[in-house]
Symmetry: C2
Subunit: 173 residues, 2 copies
């Protein structure tokens, strides 16, 4: 058994070259994201693709000054829509499935970026209210991640992982 | 730009052949899962690999009688450990990052299964307490997903997706 190259090669990229992205980049990445599984196929996600420099600056500010966010050619704000999961699954839908589904979609997006020579970083530390205001996200739609995307200008090595022998339990915990 | 085949080909598989898995399956799948990004590289996840028939039956019961869970040769119970994220990130760590990180790990696991001719299904609908009791999960470790894995005995087509034009917003929501 083999682990796919894109899973082994994905890194969190925080430095980007000036090289422009293919025109179809946002669409292809979001199409891949949407192939993630979701509870009841409800697809409780929305993607905002930002390339305007002033808006990117506002997003970097919302992310407590993580300036690399503004330096990427393309920045996604990924949103979860709790109401889309809760009408069918209640609180478990809004608090769990909705977050899981959207996270699986983000992982598809990052892996597809890797497969196409791009890189990105999963930014979770930001002020949701400020990010929402920067791009007009309405009530009931929750920005849960900011993902800057571009051609990498760094080649970080893989961070250390907990050993599988510690993480994997057999038959019982 | 291309979408990787494993992302396009992954399906939710709920019917499994009798064929045995390679001995290293659980380890390889968990190794791939652990390559997912996690906030602060905290890796707030644990995996229990179950193949004992009686335990699988108890997990299927905890999943409200979804009998295909017991029919897979290998069943993962994937856990999030909120305390591992919250010591550093507070409530955002335990309620958001911890779930996202573990979900990204699950998506890696499912894609690696696909790449190796296996299939699985992300089961979220189950009683966490009963699942925890079935395999001795302690306090502070939260089972958030049950993932049966095996060789597929069905070839479902891709479920319909919301069109990208609806899901992708440009510059503003």
């Amino acid at each position: 058994m083999e682990i796919p190259e894109i899973i082994r090669n994905r890194r969190s990229i925080r430095a980007f070259s000036k090289r422009e992205l293919p025109e179809e980049a946002a669409e292809v990445l979001v199409r891949a994201a949407c192939m993630a599984p979701s509870a009841g196929n409800l697809q409780p996600w929305e993607f905002i693709a930002v390339s305007n420099p002033e808006t990117k600056k506002r997003l970097a500010d919302a992310a407590y000054g993580q300036s690399f966010v503004a330096e990427a050619p393309l920045v996604f704000v990924v949103c979860a829509v709790p109401g889309r999961s809760s009408w069918r699954y209640g609180k478990r839908g809004s608090d769990l499935y909705c977050i899981q589904d959207t996270a699986a979609a983000i992982q598809n997006l990052l892996l597809t970026a890797t497969a196409n020579g791009l890189g990105g970083c999963w930014v979770g530390a930001f002020d949701e209210e400020r990010a929402a205001r920067a791009i007009g996200i309405p009530e009931g739609v929750r920005p849960i991640s900011i993902i800057p995307i571009g051609y990498p200008a760094e080649t970080p090595s893989a961070p250390p992982r907990r050993p599988v022998s510690e993480v994997l339990h057999r038959e019982r915990y």
